[in-house]
């Protein structure tokens, strides 16, 4: 294993290439470790930092009038010379006795000026540092040290495969485990040494006090290198070998870090044992350090690294290239489109939850943007496959679309059937539900919305992953929190799209939308679902019907 590690280091770090890599690593990591920011090391690790009374008033510099706080309205005599007047200021003095300010916020310098009023203060405002354990500089050192390994990880296995030297190594008198172990050891030691160098700088310059995070660094790096090698074990080109760890590793480490953080209140030892996540918390100096937590972190890392390297070694003999499956690609594209759809259509409702309902944009602009997003994703899917929807509408498609559309319209506009839902869910869901039968007050937005839904879910996704998957994704897009309210309609439109063409499904949803405009109030739950089920039956009939009169034999 040591011999393999030595070979690995010699082949990648010898000569100018090695010097360049070392220079790059040090030029990035050393300043990161040494640089001291003005607000660092103040009140970390849950220690409260109260502002002492009167300390704020020291922020006023009477010699520099340009720095005085600015107010509009009449400045009271006691504050002349301590406040500047500007009619455009958003802080307004509305009355003198008592002194009353109208402002969206009160900056510290204004507070300090008000503290100089002669009467005794009856109220004091005191700011405390939040009782959160914030990560130290070591988190960034750990992340950067692992990021610098993107190139070497791409060379370690994908480079060997692309140059056909992996077969030579496999035929040598060493085991698979020794080969992988040697590569892992080489890069773990290399990254750990550079990370410790940066850490030494931060300890020396009082950026971060020494602690157990110094032990967390090699644990996290070891886990990340092992996982990175596993990710690239079957990749045979350098670009793919660089892209895979760059994309996957941060996400996995982040998710596992959040998992470990959520387990911390239950048991720090359990949190420390989470692969990648526990060592990340320890390296970031936010894990509550107990002896059992440290032991758990070490043991957990040993188990994780051993298991992952074993799996990697087992796959070294495979030379098949892993390719993406069309079905999964369609679902992935649909998922991205779904996320963008939710953000665009439901997202604006978050402003009302944040306390400013006036900031919520009109539903029409959301539907237009969301519809264009779906159209764009559908166009990309079609371009990649080289399959486009046929614009021709057959008579069967037209009749089927009208029939299903009329039955859906009889149910009235689509509405949710929450029995009990939290307030935040209702606000978000109402906007999504409105997109099933968008208002015709904004016809362009409505058309984009309907066309986007039809083209993406009933052609793009349905064509590659099946109409049922497309229908389910549409249900998630329209009613993620109340799917059963939309399921019959989703199945009806999906089946119609699959059997009679996407144009038929588009016609059906357009007729439904037009009918909903004429019937503003939805029916009660039971009759609405009954009509939707009838629509599903009609769609089934359209799909299974054959054109023409049956011939007698």
């Amino acid at each position: 294993m040591l011999a393999v590690a030595h070979y690995e280091m010699r082949s990648h770090m010898a000569g100018r290439q090695g010097l360049r890599f070392a220079a790059l690593a040090l030029s990035l990591l050393l300043p990161l470790g040494l640089l001291r920011l003005p607000f660092s090391n103040v009140g970390r690790n849950g220690k409260a930092v109260p502002l002492a009374p009167g300390a704020v008033s020291n922020s006023i510099d009477p010699i520099a009038p340009a720095n005085l706080p600015v107010v509009s309205g009449i400045v009271p005599p006691q504050l002349v010379g301590k406040l500047l007047h500007d009619a455009n200021s958003r802080v307004e003095i509305v009355s003198q006795s008592p002194l009353r300010l109208r402002a969206e916020s009160v900056p510290d310098d204004l507070r300090a000026a008000l503290e100089t009023l002669p009467e005794r203060a009856r109220v004091e405002v005191r700011r405390f540092r939040a009782a959160l354990r914030l990560p130290g500089r070591s988190l960034f050192i750990a992340i950067l040290a692992v990021s610098l390994l993107t190139g070497p990880l791409a060379e370690a296995l994908p480079g060997e495969r692309s140059r056909r030297t992996l077969e030579v190594l496999l035929s040598a008198g060493i085991s698979r485990a020794e080969l992988i172990g040697g590569k892992w050891l080489a890069w773990t030691i290399s990254a750990t040494l550079t990370a410790w160098l940066a850490a030494a700088g931060s300890c020396y310059n009082n950026v971060q006090a020494p602690g157990w995070w110094l032990a967390g660094l090699p644990l996290f790096i070891a886990s990340a290198v092992a996982f990175g090698l596993w990710l690239v074990r079957l990749v045979d080109d350098l670009v793919g070998g660089a892209a895979a760890p760059m994309r996957v590793l941060p996400v996995v480490a982040g998710v596992l870090g959040l998992l470990a953080q959520s387990l911390q209140p239950l048991s720090p030892a359990l949190a420390a044992m989470v692969p990648l996540g526990g060592p990340l918390l320890l390296a970031a100096d936010i894990l509550v350090v107990t002896p059992s937590a440290v032991v758990s972190a070490v043991l957990g890392t040993i188990v994780f690294v051993t298991a992952v390297l074993a799996l990697t070694a087992r796959d070294l003999d495979r030379f098949d290239i892993v390719t993406g499956i069309k079905r999964h690609g369609a679902i992935g594209l649909g998922a991205v489109a779904l996320l963008l759809w939710w953000l665009t259509v439901a997202g604006p409702a978050v402003w009302s939850l944040a306390g400013n309902a006036k900031a919520v944009s009109p539903i029409a602009s959301s539907l237009l943007a969301g519809g264009l997003v779906l159209l764009g994703c559908a166009a990309i899917a079609c371009a990649r496959e080289g399959v486009w929807p046929w614009p021709h509408v057959t008579r069967r498609a037209l009749i089927g679309g009208l029939l299903v559309g009329v039955l859906l319209a009889a149910a009235g506009p689509f509405s949710l059937r929450f029995t009990s839902a939290p307030h935040w869910a209702e606000a978000l869901s109402a906007r999504l539900a409105a997109s099933a039968t968008p208002s015709l007050d904004a016809p362009v937005a409505a058309l984009a919305c309907l066309a986007g839904q039809a083209w993406l879910f009933r052609f793009g996704v349905a064509g590659r992953a099946g109409w049922l998957v497309g229908a389910l994704l549409w249900t998630l897009a329209i009613a993620p929190l109340d799917p059963f309210a939309a399921l019959p309609a989703a199945l009806a439109l999906g089946l119609l799209g699959a059997g009679a063409g996407v144009q038929s499904a588009l016609i059906a949803q357009a007729v439904w939308t037009a009918g909903a405009a004429l019937m503003p109030a939805p029916l009660a739950a039971a009759p609405a679902l009954a009509f939707q089920t009838l629509a599903l039956t009609a769609a089934l009939a359209v799909v299974t019907s054959k054109a023409g009169v049956p011939r007698r034999q």
């Binding site: 009353r100 969206e104 009856r122 405390f128 953000l343 900031a359 264009l372 764009g376």
Partner: protein, 322 residues
């Protein structure tokens, strides 16, 4: 007209072929999706975090007399024995207690709710100065400036994409032999450059428009139409620069040299617009920088951008480019 029709069909076919090649690259598709996705995700997550933590009406108080005035203002006021301790431990984010003859409002997370609590407390205690909080406006403060910067950054990102894609599409076709095969077709040389630049416009333009519409749906952007026009012109300009640098470089110069020159030139043009808005508003790339600095672009940037693309096309047609 006949000549135009003769040119239009092969140009359209070549352009479509380049567009399909671009869209089949997963890297390109993901890059185009990221600006809108990340911007909207960041906005929604920020608003969501504020909704969870910034609007909480819960406040711990150490004195029963405060319960009624705080509840009248919509707070969920709770009487506790040690409000300061609860605040320090992070169990609440705002608390009020009595200390040395004065009321102390402690908070660990500054928000509008904290300000409302302060206003209520000052009124109750009849303090020497009081606070009145105006109702929230739909678009408070200088939000136009902030949304303009967001739109500008999205335009900047897509311009840089244009540079990379303009250079990359020529480099890739040159190194794979596709360009050589296309040049053997009985078509004028300018058509190959024109098709590639037109493809960039038809890919980057809609991507920019949709990204801006996504952000606009969350946080209305002032003069969004003008941002779309400026961003598209900048993206086309960037693509033309990338294409030009790659076309002028020989095949042995590789990819990174011409690309870095193109990126430097593009950023320099935008910086010129930022620092000298009165000049920048007249030029396609620089107008993005000047618009971010607050000066609206002139109407000539669109024809100038097309003219620049045409000049790049003519330059290409006079070169070997292999």
């Amino acid at each position: 007209m006949g000549h135009f029709q003769q040119a239009a069909k092969p140009l359209a076919a070549l352009t479509l072929a380049v567009i399909l090649r671009l869209l089949r690259e997963g890297l390109v598709v993901r890059a185009l999706a990221w600006p809108g996705l990340l911007a909207s995700l960041a906005l929604v997550v920020t608003a969501g975090a504020y909704a969870v933590w910034g609007t909480t009406p819960t406040i711990a108080v150490g004195s029963e007399e405060l319960l009624a005035p705080l509840r009248a203002r919509g707070f969920d006021a709770r009487l506790v024995e040690q409000p300061e301790a609860m605040l320090r431990e992070g169990l609440v984010i705002q608390a009020i207690w009595r200390e040395e003859g004065r009321w102390v409002l402690g908070y660990s997370w500054s928000s509008r709710a904290t300000l409302e609590a302060e206003a209520a407390l000052r009124d109750y205690a009849a303090d020497r100065w009081r606070l009145e909080i105006p109702p929230l406006a739909a678009r408070p403060g200088d939000i136009n400036r902030q949304t303009a910067l967001m739109a500008g950054v999205i335009g900047l990102l897509l311009t840089l994409y244009g540079v990379v894609m303009g250079a990359g599409v020529l480099y890739r076709d040159r190194s794979s032999g596709t360009l050589e095969a296309e040049l053997a077709l009985p078509l004028p040389n300018w058509m190959h450059a024109g098709a590639r630049l037109l493809a960039l416009l038809l890919v980057l333009g809609p991507a920019l428009v949709v990204s801006l519409l996504i952000v606009n749906a969350l946080l209305a952007i002032d003069e969004i139409g003008l941002w779309m026009l400026t961003g598209t012109c900048a993206a086309v300009g960037g693509g033309a620069i990338g294409f030009l640098m790659m076309a002028r470089a020989q095949a042995t110069h590789g990819f990174s040299g011409p690309l870095s020159r193109a990126l430097t030139l593009t950023m320099a043009a935008m910086a010129l617009g930022w620092w000298w808005p009165l000049l920048g508003c007249w030029l396609p790339l620089a107008s993005l920088g000047s618009f971010m600095a607050g000066t609206a672009p002139s109407a000539v940037i669109a024809p100038l951008a097309l003219m620049a693309a045409a000049l790049v096309t003519i330059d290409f047609s006079r070169r070997e480019c292999l």
